[in-house]
Every structure is written in C-alpha cells, then in structure tokens.
Amino acid sequence: MRTRKLAETALLAATALIIYIVEAQIPSLTNIPGIKLGLSNTVTLFAMYTVGTGQAVCVLVIRVLLGTFATGQVMSLIFSAAGGTISFAVCALLKRVFPIRMIWVVSIFGAIGHNIGQIAAAVLVTGTWEIIYYLPVLIISGVFTGTFTGLAAQFAVKRMGKNDC
C-alpha cells in the first residue's frame, strides 16, 4: 500500500508540475498582477477527492517548490505558498460538505482564498496596503478561473473514479 501511495503521489505531482510549467509559459492576458488560470489546481482538487487530503498536501507542496525552481521566480514562492496554503485549507474544509458534483463550488472558494492569500502576502511583504485595491478584481477573476478549473477537476474525478487512479 505504501508503494501504491508513493506512486500515486508522484504521478499526480508530476502531472501538476507539467501543467504548472506549461501554464507559466502563457503570457498574462491582463495587466493586473496575480491573475492566472491556476490550472494546476485541477490536480490538487482531483487528488483531494480521489486519493485523499493527506496525499493532496504532498502533491501541492511538491508542485509549489519544484514549480518555483523550474520557472525561476523565487519571489513568487512567497505568494504561491501563501495563496496555496489558504486555498488548500478552504478546499479541505469544504470538501467535507460538498459532493463530487459540486467540486466547482469548492474550487471557486479555493481560488478566491488563493487570491486573498496572495494579496495578504503582498501587503505584508511590501508594507503597502494599497494593493488591496486589486482585491475586487482578483475575486471576480477567482470566480471565473475557479469555475473553469473546478469543472475540469469535476469531470476528471467523474470519469476516473477512485479505483482507476
């Protein structure tokens, strides 16, 4: 069982990392910092609903650390870590309440949590509270990106049930 868990976690982390690196190559569509699709969150949500919250934490931590090294933006590690932690905590709590067909709701709250975490980190690091002005825009973007990644995760979980993973 240990080997199975190890393999599952490694496979999911590798998938998340590849999605993360590919997404990092796509230029930002807006001039507002911090807005991106966050497609690798699909894998985190998928892991949470299939192999469990514990392994999902491992997948997230591996992806954030290796992703930062791979894209070479150490500065963004602080923001990624702050956003990722809050997002994961929110998702892990909501996962207890929402079934698989409602993953998109969990995902939206996760995306909003991620953006709030990022903003909080940016405010603390720079000591400039004006960054909060970006919060409404980031919440709106979180609703849209969260819906998209959530639905992607939802379809993946539906089609590849617990046993196939």
């Binding site: 930002s28 001039n31 507002i32 910092p33 933006q73 500065m75 309440v97 929402f98 079934p99 409602m102 998109w104 709701v105 939206i108 940016a122 690091v125 720079t126 000591g127 400039t128 004006e130 960054i131 002005y133 970006y134 919060l135 409404p136 825009v137 919440i139 709106i140 609703v143 819906t147």
Partner: protein, 129 residues
C-alpha cells in the same frame, strides 16, 4: 431541502459576489492632484500638478533592481523595469481614481495622494531629485 447543495443557489451567489466586487472596483480610490512614489511603504518623492507638467524621467533603485518612472503630458507611468514580469510597465499611465501602479519585486507603489497630507512631503521630494 439543503440549499447549499443546489447549483442554482451558488450560481446566483457568485453572480452577486461579482457584481459587488465590480461596484467596489469602480468606486473612486481617493487622493487628488498629488502623485506619491512609495518604496517599501515609505514615501520617497511626490509631484504636485505643476511638477507633473514638466516632462522627465526618474530612475529609482532598489537592491540592484531599477524602475524608470516617466512623466509626460501630466501623467505618470513606469516605462522600464528590471524584473522579468514587468506588470508595472503594462499597467500603463496612472489615472485619477484608478488602481495604483505597483512593482512588487522592487517594492514600488505610485498612487494619487491627498493634498492635505502633503505638507511635509515637498521637503522629501526635494532630496530625491
């Protein structure tokens, strides 16, 4: 009936959240006339309306990184940044009531500030130029 398990409930909920955020986003951001440049949360220089009308460029340094602030035709923008993402450059010119220009890697914020807070600021701006 568990309301939170219905999809339509959340569709309406998130639509309302988006509307509220949009309204908040459109609210004026405060400050008038004066433009302040902050580094690491401290005001390092400011420009009043007269100073905004003389075109020029300033280079601000922070721990090896640089930003070039350009003032032309009464508006302020960042035209060059040493960081790879360059969000502050793509922000474009600073607009009254709009979002501030922020460069996270170099800890730089440019925004409109209140005239009333400005008494002790002119002395500071004199040092920097």
């Amino acid at each position: 009936m568990k309301l939170y398990l219905k999809s339509w409930f959340w569709v309406i909920f998130f639509a309302l959240v988006c509307c509220c955020c949009f309204v908040i986003y459109l609210l004026p951001k405060g400050g008038n006339g004066y433009v302040g440049v902050y580094q690491n949360g401290e005001l390092i220089c400011s420009f009043d309306e007269e100073e905004l009308n003389e075109d020029r460029e300033l280079v601000i340094e922070y721990m090896g990184g640089t930003n070039t602030i350009s003032i032309s035709e009464g508006s302020v923008s960042i035209t060059q940044a040493s960081c790879p993402d360059g969000d502050c450059v793509r922000h474009g010119p600073l607009e009254p009531g709009g979002t501030p220009i922020i460069c996270l890697p170099n800890r730089l914020v440019i925004k409109y500030i209140d005239e009333t807070k400005n008494d002790d600021v002119d002395a500071v701006s004199g040092d920097v130029k």
